[in-house]
Symmetry: C2
Subunit: 349 residues, 2 copies
Amino acid sequence: MTSSPNPVLVETWRGDAIESFHRGAVAVVDADGALLASLGDIDRPVFPRSAVKALQALPLVTSGAADAFGLPDEALAMACASHGGEPAHTQRVAATLAAAGLDETALECGAHWPSHDATMRAMVREGASISALHNNCSGKHAGFLCLGCMLDEGKDRRDFLRGYIDPAHPAMQVVTAALQATTGFDPANAPHGIDGCSIPTFGIPLRRLALAFARFGSGVGLSPEHAVAARRLRQAVARAPFYVAGSDRFDTRVMERLGERVFCKAGAEGVYCASFPDRGLGIALKVDDGGNARASAVAMAALIEGGVALNDDEARFMRGLSDAKLSNWNGITVGRVEAAQALRGLALG
Amino acid sequence: MTSSPNPVLVETWRGDAIESFHRGAVAVVDADGALLASLGDIDRPVFPRSAVKALQALPLVTSGAADAFGLPDEALAMACASHGGEPAHTQRVAATLAAAGLDETALECGAHWPSHDATMRAMVREGASISALHNNCSGKHAGFLCLGCMLDEGKDRRDFLRGYIDPAHPAMQVVTAALQATTGFDPANAPHGIDGCSIPTFGIPLRRLALAFARFGSGVGLSPEHAVAARRLRQAVARAPFYVAGSDRFDTRVMERLGERVFCKAGAEGVYCASFPDRGLGIALKVDDGGNARASAVAMAALIEGGVALNDDEARFMRGLSDAKLSNWNGITVGRVEAAQALRGLALG
């Protein structure tokens, strides 16, 4: 907390005044590591949380697991997903596990109610109970389990897989190695934490996260295997964007609209990462205060507006996300959440 | 956004690193208006939202409505409440309305699902639908309607009450006058907004909000009628703290434990106000980023620890709220949310 404060990225207005505001940092990097634009402290390590699921999914492809188990685009998108627990999501994860001869009891992510309201209500009405399939990370965990199956050298499969969330498990070691190869972070000297779904998470500077996503979007700077896998994951998400988030969710809506021109992925605590492949750019941002997803999504929307070639309709669509109305319980518009000037003025390369 | 950044009030830790942090401002004032301690910009107008419901409830008592309709402590506590929509809450609001010859159709706050999860699930299971009674502000609105009944000079009661949420309605004018009398803010020059429940909200500096709560807790500086009403409201909440928030909620838990030694009330967007009557102090704080209630509650807990005489058990209880564990979906402790050094070091008068 000794460095100078980060700039304001997002403001919320009520009536004629700013009610709240969110500070944070942004890094825009190309695949050669050149810093093209930035705001705030991009060298402080941040836990990227779910924003790097796509990087953690690379070994699912490079190990041969995706082919061995015949995983379709939807399954690959779910390996990169923070999903809402809608029926199509949980069914898809169950199918991935079944393809590997497993079921939901192999998942070690813990259970929580679907974040998709209508699904949660339908389950409550029917007296249904939740399982690890409903955890927003279950697709990622199913991917880890498929990867683990490829690493098992003849032991009992379930025995080998048990504890796959541990940093020392062979599957998690391969996942961490992919994160290291793409970001160049140093696990020995990075802050260590445990994620919401119990896997390890490491503190990585935004500058390095942005570099990894520039690489992820272009293939430049990746090993040939990672480059092929990155392209396959990006295409899978672009073809099946519902599976990376869900109904009415930012990442799904944006990628449904813009296809392969943007890969973007939210993480908890205000982190967002993105690739703009046409421009060769990688983006990483974190809102300091974290807990409020409204701010990080609005910031990412403004960066997409500034960094991706859009036609008029697309630009209007994105502006609706970077300058969003706030309504109250009577449906009256009472304010808005919008990207601050510092962010709008950022020249992206 | 031109003033210097506010200090960090609350930090969240994950593993061995700070993951997110919340800046904000705090004012601690006595009833003479002396500023005893502060952090950050306490002169920027902030929308106090639900944190000033107790001030807005003063006319319910001074108008004679509380006596005319025989309102018990529970009803007065609910006039100051942001409640969870539990059955006892909605039943109590319905009873208050019935005492004035009204029902829920008179409420103009809009409807939302109860924030109390178990209540919401029970309603979904039973196929129940929501009404304005479930709005967290319905107790306050029932109070406004009771007040309005005292102001009606012979018109049809329902006709007169219709539109009571409008700034120009006689009932809302009396409510705004109470806010003006206690805080000394100037409605003509304050920022104007519409609250979540559709009543007007005004931007008021934390310094003035703290003064109002020093007055609310001590009676000093209030009109004799407001002083009597303030004492009655504080005692009502201390006797019926469940009705000011609900099960497992911060304000209810703290006032159940500390009784009349603390009156505290959360508002949306990171605002908290409190009176420490034994010390003659009023407190007002706002977390800049607003949307995350975790930060404002932790900050208020630290201020209560520093400003209220507590025995060892009470101090341990409060420390559990100002330095709170974060657990993940597997129940593993992954971090904590805690008051930052600047807040801990604040000498409260």
